[in-house]
Subunit: 370 residues, 2 copies
């Protein structure tokens, strides 16, 4: 694989992903390096087929050496993603822009760890073959599933749904199934990376992600870097809610519906009629109040520019939550600092995109120094 290792190379790639194609002069200013350094950097990455020049539509009729835009090539590398829904296995291949090139899903009948990842590996292999891609054009494979990270570095707590799974280490336990570098993060943190690299957060340097799925997860991005701490247990927003009422998770929604006589196991199964009905609406109203409080906590701790709402609750609910939070004038009584932007996640429909974002993030991004 065509690895991007140098400090300034990664800074450049991160910049271009965030800004889209820009001129060499802009690169020079934004990276605080000399134009000559940009030339060498860019030429080197051209030769390695990582960057390309694209026509500048705005640039015409102006004096001086015509500037050309430099951008990331979509086909500079590819990434594979595996998302393990408790009942279904989702796999996909994306290009370096995060465009979904192929996807394949499969019901999980045998929940055994070896069985699941054996299938996942074969599904990825098949897709690479079908797309006619070169295997070593792959920067890696990302694995994601619901669960809370433990203190052990590189391990993810087994979920309640997959209770028989062992604590899994990406390198030793998963790599044999995929024959490429493997990265692993839980669903919330992976989804957050998909927004950062491929979605609505591309231009945003500091944000927090509230992941509303069957459970509630979260992630914080600081200076375009996922904040993991040393134990990966940071920004676990689900655990913050007071126990006086149930936290506004998808599981709680299912429970609420069940109590009203509508039993479903999966969030996707809730019919639209019910989603716009009074039971769900009342639940959403309560959730918005709770999430407003959570947003206050986030602003008092991380104080990000934006709070991103995403998850698997579905568009009707998440859109409304995001919209109503965004219209609020304040988050609390003595809340004096400005309101964050509330953004609706773009990539949460396909959690396998989050998984595919992991190798891109760990393989091409970098922390800016303070």
């Amino acid at each position: 694989m065509n690895t991007i290792t140098k400090q300034n190379e990664r800074r450049l790639v991160t910049l271009l992903r965030s800004k889209g194609p820009i001129t060499r002069m802009q690169i020079s200013e934004l990276l605080s390096v000399q134009p000559s350094t940009v030339t060498r950097l860019v030429n080197d990455l051209f030769m390695r087929d990582i960057l390309e020049e694209v026509a500048d539509p705005e640039r015409s009729g102006r004096r001086g050496f015509p500037s050309k835009l430099v951008g990331l090539r979509a086909d500079s590398f590819y990434s594979a993603g595996v998302f393990v829904d408790p009942g279904t296995l989702f796999t996909c291949i994306v290009d370096s822009h995060g465009k979904l090139l192929s996807e394949e899903s499969r019901l999980i009948v045998d929940r055994n760890f070896e069985s699941v990842f054996g299938h996942a590996g074969r599904m990825i292999d098949r897709q690479i073959l079908d797309l006619g891609l070169n295997r070593n054009a792959f920067i890696g494979c990302g694995i994601s599933y619901p669960g809370q990270h433990t203190n052990k570095p590189g391990k993810v707590l087994r979920t309640t749904y997959l209770a028989e799974w062992p604590d899994i280490d990406a390198r030793t336990d998963l790599e044999p199934f995929f024959d490429m570098p493997v990265h692993q993060l839980n669903d919330a943190k992976s989804a957050c990376l998909a927004e950062l690299l491929f979605g609505i957060c591309k231009p945003i340097h500091n944000f927090c992600y509230i992941w509303l799925s069957y459970g509630i997860g979260g992630a914080a991005v600081i200076r375009q870097n996922l904040y993991l701490g040393e134990r990966m247990v940071t920004a676990e927003f689900g655990g913050l809610f007071p126990k006086s009422q149930p936290r506004p998770s998808g599981q709680d929604l299912l429970d609420t519906l069940a109590q009203a006589g509508h039993s479903f196991t999966r969030l996707e199964d809730i019919p639209d009629a019910l989603l716009s009905g009074p039971v769900v609406q009342a639940w959403v109203d309560r959730a918005i109040g709770q999430l407003r409080w959570l947003s206050l906590v986030i602003m008092r701790t991380f104080a990000p520019e934006a709070i991103v709402i995403g998850g698997r609750l579905g568009d009707p609910i998440l859109d409304r939550i995001c919209q109503e939070l965004g219209q609020m004038e304040t988050l609390g009584e003595d809340y004096a600092i400005g309101m964050p932007a509330f953004l609706r996640a773009e990539t949460d429909h396909k959690p396998q995109l989050g998984a595919a974002a992991l190798p891109v993030y760990f393989g091409t991004s970098i922390a800016e120094p303070a």
Copy 2:
């Protein structure tokens, strides 16, 4: 001033401050650089009188080239600190280890901004003269006072006590009074830096500081770096408490005592007898419950190794709070990750030390890359 600019120089200084004197081999390993690089780095800093060799008491009777310890020189530079208590001006000079070389305080009679900082500048000048120090051996002067940072970069919100003050920018408004680089941060964040550089947190890379003074402030240190975000309004823990009961601030303690018939304006005026009496004890009990909840919030967001308790509430109260929090088995019902260490701040008796820590931090520390 003998500035420390190079990346590895700052990494080395940060390392030595954190670890104390260590051998060149240890430096090589801990910084992941070649021994030869250490030699050059260290020799360069020797010549600039920033480092010194100290005898290794443990190293004797062992084979091989005897290793000598390399440490920071106490006199490599000095720093000045100004802390503005609403009623009193505290100034000090410290050496590079944070040892207090001199201090001077003065009641504030004229609260006018120019008057206060005019006095502060002259007090610092006098102390430099008295100590016989060279003015350009100073890395800078730190200014600290209670208040919440605003969104405007480099500005500190004027406190309620000093309401007539304008928003102050360190560079433009304060530098004229001191004739050296000036840095400015509120009381909580400055105190946090004093613990990081001079106090109990020297060996700790990730911690959060709960500052219990007349108000409640906070700060977060991530990988030995103060986390300020872009607006400096991060980790404002005081704003997190539910409004159902008053937040456990010094002001609340004074109010509580006043209601019990004991009126004081300053926390230092509370007599010991009262501090060990039932009114204060009951207040502390309530405070511990509230701070336990705050600690849970901190662990769910920043998930630091340690939570540090400091402020101006005085030793009897703060010691007890810290001790009781540290003995708890859990922070909440479904709290599954390990307990943080609860540490009692060492430098909070002298908030001017926090101010003096600012130039040291901004002038010699560095963020480690992720």
